[in-house]
C-alpha cells in the first residue's frame, strides 16, 4: 500500500502535468478554427448527456494535420529546425569540449570557481541575455564598433537578423548544458589511465583519442541531446536574433498561435513537433540507462 502510494506520486505528476495537457492540445489539434472564445470548435458540453459527447467526437477530424502537408512552409520549417539544431549542437560540442576538458584538468581548488562561472549566466534572465546579444551584434553594436576601431573592417558586418546570430545565440545559451555532462565524465577520468596509455606507447594525442574521448562518450552524448532536443523547438532566439529568413518551427508555432489565432493548426504543429522529439528523447534515455548499468 505504502509502495503503491509512493509510486502513485510521480504518476499523478505525469498525468496532471504531461498527459492531460497533451490530450487537451491533441483535442484542439483535431478541432476546427472558429471566431469564438476560445477560438475553436467543437466545445465539449457534458451537460448535454451522452448524445452531446458522441456528437463532439464526431466533429473531431485530422483536417489540420492534412493541412500541414499541403503547405510546404511547415515541413520546411521542421527540416530547417532539425538542421539548425544539428549544426548548433556540433558547434556547441566544439566549443564546449575544450572548456570542459580544461576545467577537468585544472587544479582541484580552481574547479568549483570554474564551475561557478559556467553556471553564473543562469542567474540572470534568459531574455535579458538574448537582448544583450542584440546590443552586441547589431550594426551599431559593440562588436562592429570594436572591429572598426581596431581596423579589421571598414563597414559594419550584418550579423543580427541572420542565421549566424541565431547560431551565436544558441551556442551561448546552451553551452552550460554541453559543458556540465562532459565535465562530469572527464572529472571522473583517472589520470593513471592516460599514463598507462602513454606507457604502452601512445603519444599524448593518440592517448586522448583512444582513452579520453571514449571514456567521455556518455558525457558527450548526454550533452548533445541536452542541446539538440530544446533547440529544435527554440522560439525566443530565432525570433529575437534571427531574421525573416530564419525558419524554425518554434517561430511558426508562435505565429500560428498569436498572429493568426489559428489554435488548431498551432496545436497540430506542436503535436508533430512532440512526435519528432520522442525519437531523440528515447535515445537519450537509453544512453543514460546504459551508463547507469555500466556503473552499477
Amino acid at each position: 500500500m505504502r509502495r503503491a502510494l509512493l509510486i502513485a506520486v510521480p504518476y499523478l505528476w505525469l498525468i496532471a502535468l504531461f498527459l492531460i495537457p497533451f490530450v487537451i492540445v491533441l483535442k484542439i489539434a483535431l478541432s476546427d478554427v472558429a471566431l469564438a472564445r476560445p477560438p475553436y470548435l467543437p466545445q465539449l458540453d457534458i451537460t448535454g448527456g451522452w448524445q452531446a459527447i458522441t456528437s463532439f467526437f464526431a466533429q473531431l477530424d485530422f483536417e489540420n494535420f492534412v493541412f500541414l502537408t499541403t503547405d510546404d512552409l511547415y515541413w520546411k520549417a521542421y527540416l530547417s529546425s532539425l538542421q539548425i539544431a544539428l549544426f548548433s549542437t556540433i558547434l556547441t560540442l566544439i566549443v564546449g569540449y575544450p572548456i570542459a576538458y580544461a576545467m577537468a584538468r585544472s587544479s582541484p581548488e580552481w574547479r568549483p570557481t570554474l564551475l561557478m562561472l559556467v553556471i553564473l549566466p543562469f542567474w540572470t534572465s534568459f531574455l535579458i541575455r538574448v537582448y544583450a546579444w542584440m546590443g552586441i551584434l547589431s550594426n551599431e553594436g559593440l562588436l562592429n564598433q570594436f572591429l572598426i576601431w581596431i581596423g579589421v573592417i571598414n563597414e559594419p558586418l550584418t550579423i543580427l537578423n541572420t542565421n549566424t546570430a541565431v547560431y551565436i545565440g544558441i551556442v551561448y545559451t546552451y553551452l552550460p548544458f554541453m559543458i556540465l555532462p562532459i565535465y562530469s565524465a572527464l572529472e571522473r577520468l583517472d589520470d593513471s589511465l592516460l599514463e598507462a596509455a602513454v606507457d604502452l606507447g601512445c603519444s599524448r594525442l593518440s592517448a586522448f583519442w583512444l582513452v579520453t574521448v571514449p571514456l567521455s562518450k556518455n558525457g558527450i552524448i548526454a550533452g548533445c541531446f541536452l542541446v539538440f532536443i530544446p533547440v529544435i523547438g527554440e522560439f525566443v532566439i530565432p525570433s529575437l536574433l534571427g531574421g525573416s529568413g530564419t525558419l524554425m518551427i518554434g517561430k511558426v508555432l508562435w505565429e500560428e498561435f498569436f498572429s493568426n489565432r489559428d489554435w488548431p493548426v498551432a496545436s497540430a504543429v506542436a503535436v508533430i513537433l512532440l512526435l519528432i522529439l520522442v525519437i531523440p528523447i528515447i535515445l537519450f534515455q537509453r544512453n543514460e540507462q546504459k551508463q547507469r548499468e555500466a556503473e552499477g
Binding site: A196, D199, L200, K217
Partner: protein, 450 residues
Amino acid sequence: MNQTVFAPWNDPKETPLIQFKNVTKRFGDFTAINNQTQDIFEREFFALLGPSGCGKTTMMRMLAGFETPTEGQILIAGQDMANVPPNKRAVNMMFQSYALFPHLSVRDNIAFGLKREGKGADAIAERVDEMLRLTRLEKFAQRKPHQISGGQRQRVALARSLAKAPKLLLLDEPLGALDKKLRQDTQFELMDIQEKTGTTFVIVTHDQEEAMTVASRVAVMDEGRIIQVATPDEIYEAPNSVYVADFIGDVNLIKGRAEARPTEVAEKIQPAETAPAKPSGPTPKPKIDGPQPNEMGEWLQNKLLFPILGKRTPQPKQLPPPDPKTETIKPAQPVAIQPGGIALHWTEGHTPIIAANGDPSVAGEQVTLALRPEKLNISKTKPEAPNVLSGTVIDIAYLGNLSTYYVELDNGTMVKVQMTNARRIARRDITWEDKVWVSFSETSGVVLRG
C-alpha cells in the same frame, strides 16, 4: 646441486641494466630524491621499500619517464634516458590502481600496447593468447574489467604490461588491493612469471613482507635516500642502521654504551670440567616381568586363544642402549662464550649484555642492540646462557602458531619475545605477571651505532 647463486651485484664484470647516477629530484622546495646512486641488474627482482612519502614511487616514475630527474642521470641499458619520453622506453609499468581501460575488453586491454607498435593482427593475436595463457585468463578474454574480480584485474594489468616484452617492468604496489590470502598466492605467481619471462622487475611497496618474499634485493628507503640495499636475509639479519632494523620486522632495541671485550681470552670457559663424563658401566637391560612367549606362542594367543586369555599387551619396543662413544654430554656449566665483540652497558646495576659479533671500534659510543623477538628465549627457571635478563610478563599475544610475550625488564624496558607454540595452549606454563628469564646468545643481536 650445481645451481649458481643469482647475485650479479657481486660480480664486477656484470654491467647493470639500470644506473641511477647522483639523481636528485625536487618538487618545488621539497626534495623527493636526494643524490642517489644505485645499480639494478638484468633479471633482478628489485624492491623499493619504505614508508609513504619516502621517494620510492618517485624513483619508479623516473624510470617510467613520468618524472625527470632535477639533477643527475638515469641510464637504462647504457642509454641516457633524459630525453626519452615514456612512450619511447622499453619500460612498462603496472599501476597501483591497475589503470585498466574500462571501455576495452580484457583482450583489447592486453593488445593495447601491441597495437601501438603497428604489428600485424596475427602477431598481436598470438602474443595476446600467450599472455592470456601465462596469466590464466583465457576464459575472461571477452569480459570488461568491471566484470572480473580484483585478482583477475591484477593479472590483466600484469599481462598488459608484459605483453610488449619490456626490458624492465615496474610494479607500483601491485598487490595492495588484494586480500591477504590472494596476495600471498599472487606473490609466488609474480616470482614465477618473473622467472619464466626473464624480465627485470622493479617493485615499489610499503609491505616489507611482500618485498622480502618476492625480491632478490631490497632497497630500504627513507626521506629520499636509500638506506640499505641487500638481499632479504641480509636486510633482516644484518641491518646497517637502527632505521632498517626497526622498519623490517619486529625488533627489540636496547640502547646502551659499548665497551670493548677482550679478544683472546675466553672469559668463562672451564676446559677441564667440561670433558665428557664417562658412563658408569653397561646400561642394564630393561627388566621384564615373567617368562616371555616366543613368536609362535604370541601368535597362538592373539589369533586363537584371545577369547579366553585376552590379547597380549605388546611389550614396548626397547631402544638399543645408548652408545657411550657417540653420546654427547652437555658441557658443564657455565657455557662457553665467544671472545671479542663488545659489552653493552644498558642499565645501572645489571651485568652488561654481551655481543660477541659487535664491532669493537664502537667502544665508548652510544649504541643500540637490535634483537629479533624470535631469537630470544623465555623461561621460568634461570637458564644458563650468555645473556640472561629478568623481567615480568605484561602481556601475551597468541597468534596461533606463535605467541609473543611482552616482558617488562627490571629497569622498565619492554621486550618482545616470540616463541613457537609447539605445545597446545593449555600446557603453556608462562602466564601474565609471571617472573621470567629472557635469555639469548652472545651473537643473537646486531650492534648498531646510534
